[in-house]
């Protein structure tokens, strides 16, 4: 058997390197198909990861306590905060108040989501207040607001400007815009203003209440296990883990990943069809030589293996170079991210070894498969017809 492999390899190598132009064409098709799989999926991973990380970093805690069903606020905030302080698995927490209002600058007005939060507590749970585009962050006792970036653009507001905020209670007040926040989350960046929790409570005439309490655990992955304990300790019924919070996002991301797989598959099929056609044409052109080979004593299985080996050699060379090219393309975007105008964020592809494993396996398998039909065709060549053209 090893000698047969040696003979198959010997002839296959000679055959594929005989015509350099065809060799280069086939190899390039496989290289780009493989690199395309790695890069497109890596890019999609980068975008999805950015979105997920950004959401987790700026909008949610590892565990998030919401009001009971049909209730607007969580009551007894002080007691709950006290208990949270005593729980050793809880690293930090941040209560948030979320209400609606209208922000105006001169003649321009937009409905907004007013997010009241304690800057000190929030800073220990999320990085929301670090995402300043311009200006400075707010303090607990400031009478100032942060405006999200797209909203600021729509209202023609800059850091240092004054804007009028109307609360749902009917209170209206002038606030200094201390900074502009850009999270990269389209919805957040288009509708949100941030203000100190104390000031929000005061204007809304409420106390000891929150719309949500974000909790940061010492171990993010322990969220599922810790959720029931938290519900019991705090006597709350509506708690979501960070995974549950981003479930929709993950499903949406999966749809994008499927789209990326379709793009990759189209490229790969195009390459596989090219490889298959060229090997098939090679078989047709070599019919006479295949006949001679069989006349000399080569079995059908030997001829079959030759053309499978040719496909495998194209695969080994093309997939290897494609892997390197795909890897370098991802590393390039990691070093030089590009600006996504829709997300208003710098995006890069993200490398993971699974991309290499998948691309290598799929490209190689498809390349081999593309050689199967020509190989079967070759193995069934009739010696008499091949040699004498009868």
């Amino acid at each position: 058997m090893p000698h047969e492999v040696h003979s198959v390899l010997f002839y296959s190598k000679k055959d594929i390197f005989k015509n350099r132009k065809i060799f280069i064409f086939i190899t390039l098709a496989i290289i780009f198909a493989t690199a395309n799989i790695i890069f497109v999926n890596g890019l999609m991973d980068g975008m999805v990861s950015y979105d997920v990380d950004n959401t987790v970093e700026s909008s949610i805690g590892h565990l998030n306590i919401y009001p009971k069903e049909d209730e607007r606020f969580i009551d007894g905030l002080g007691i709950k905060e006290q208990r949270l302080k005593e729980m050793k698995e809880v690293d930090a927490y941040s209560p948030r108040l979320s209400v609606s209002g209208v922000l105006s600058n001169k003649e321009l007005s937009f409905p907004v989501v007013i997010l009241g939060l304690d800057p000190d507590k929030e800073g220990r749970v999320t990085r929301l207040l670090e995402k300043l585009d311009s200006g400075t962050a707010i303090n607990s006792n400031d009478n100032a607001i942060l405006v999200s970036s797209r909203l600021a653009e729509d209202l023609k507001l800059s850091a240092g400007d004054e804007a009028t905020l109307a609360f749902e209670t009917g209170n209206t007040r002038e606030y200094k815009v201390k900074g502009i926040v850009r999270t990269g989350n389209l919805d957040f960046d288009s509708t949100t203003i941030i203000m100190p929790l104390n000031e929000a409570n005061r204007q809304l005439g409420i106390d000891n209440k929150a719309s949500v309490i974000l909790i940061k655990l010492q171990d993010k992955e322990a969220a599922d296990a810790y959720k029931p304990l938290l519900m019991q300790e705090l006597e709350v019924s509506n708690v979501k883990t960070w995974k549950e919070e981003i479930e929709f996002l993950l499903r949406f991301s999966e749809a994008w990943r499927s789209f990326a797989r379709v793009i990759s598959a189209v490229g790969l099929i195009a390459a596989a069809v090219s490889v298959g056609i060229i090997i098939y044409i090679n078989v047709i052109h070599k019919t006479r030589q295949i006949g001679i080979m069989k006349a000399l004593g080569a079995k059908d299985s030997f001829v079959f293996k030759i053309f499978i080996m040719e496909a495998a050699l194209f695969g080994v060379i093309g997939v290897s170079i494609g892997d390197v090219l795909g890897y370098l393309a991802i590393k390039y975007t990691e070093a030089y991210p590009f600006y996504d105008a829709v997300m208003q964020a710098w995006i890069s592809a993200r490398f993971d070894y699974y991309l290499l494993y998948n691309a290598t396996l799929v490209s190689f398998a498809v390349t081999i498969l593309s050689g199967v039909y020509p190989a079967i065709k070759a193995s069934r060549v009739d010696i008499i017809k091949a040699i004498w053209g009868e």
Binding site: S7, K294, L296, G297, K299, F302, I387, W388
Partner: protein, 222 residues
């Protein structure tokens, strides 16, 4: 000792609804070490006979005994194995592998049969046919006569019991034809190589030990 014996060998080709009797009951025997020429007009069945004896094709009926063994009933895989080890072919149109050098062409059948010293033997064979200086040349760089000598060296690679040649000099000039025939005769005399040669040329046929004449798919004269 008989190396080949055919009994009532028939081959019928079907061309649409028409049946063509290429061989119509051929009884031939060839002794080991013989040089036999097969002659006859086009369509007389001589090449079909060679294909049957060379196990490239299967008869419609009848028997082919090679070394006393009926080979008509063996599988295609075993036929390939038998061809590899016991039969050498020299075709009219040289039929070398164009992407392989002369040396590699001769090595190839020995690589298939797992010959331990295929490269050394290939060099010896090319030396024997007078091509030692051309071993690394591709077929496209060789003359017709040189290509046919490579084909002969390749045919002898696995020391076949039987060398079958079909119009081996049809595309060669007179001088080269003479050289090739001298090579066949030398192989036959010095190495007792059994050779069956199909030819149209009576002069070449006359060089063989025996001539078998075919006409309309039967042997008409021996």
């Amino acid at each position: 000792m008989k190396i080949i014996e055919t009994k009532e060998l028939k081959k019928i080709y079907r061309l649409g609804k028409i049946e063509v009797n290429a061989l119509n009951g051929v009884d031939v025997s060839v002794e080991s070490g013989e040089f036999v020429a097969i002659m006859g007009p086009s369509g007389s069945g001589k090449s079909t006979f060679l294909n049957m004896v060379g196990m490239l094709d299967t008869p419609t009926s009848g028997e082919i005994h090679i070394n006393g063994y009926d080979v008509t009933k063996i599988s295609s895989s075993m036929r390939a194995e038998y061809r590899l080890k016991h039969i050498g072919f020299v075709f009219q149109f040289f039929n070398l592998f164009m992407e392989l050098t002369a040396l590699e062409n001769v090595m190839f059948p020995m690589m298939l049969s797992n010959h331990p010293f295929y490269e050394e033997r290939a060099e010896e064979l090319l030396d024997m046919v007078g091509l030692k200086a051309r071993i690394n040349h591709l077929p496209s760089e060789l003359s017709g006569g040189e290509q046919q000598r490579v084909t002969i060296a390749r045919a002898l690679a696995n020391k076949p019991k039987l060398l079958l040649t079909d119009e081996p000099t049809a595309n060669l000039d007179t001088k080269t034809t003479k050289e090739i025939m001298e090579l066949f005769l030398r192989l036959n005399k010095e190495q007792r190589q059994t050779i069956i040669m199909v030819t149209h040329n009576p002069e070449l046929g006359a060089m063989a030990d025996r001539i078998i004449h075919f006409r309309d798919g039967v042997v008409v004269e021996e």
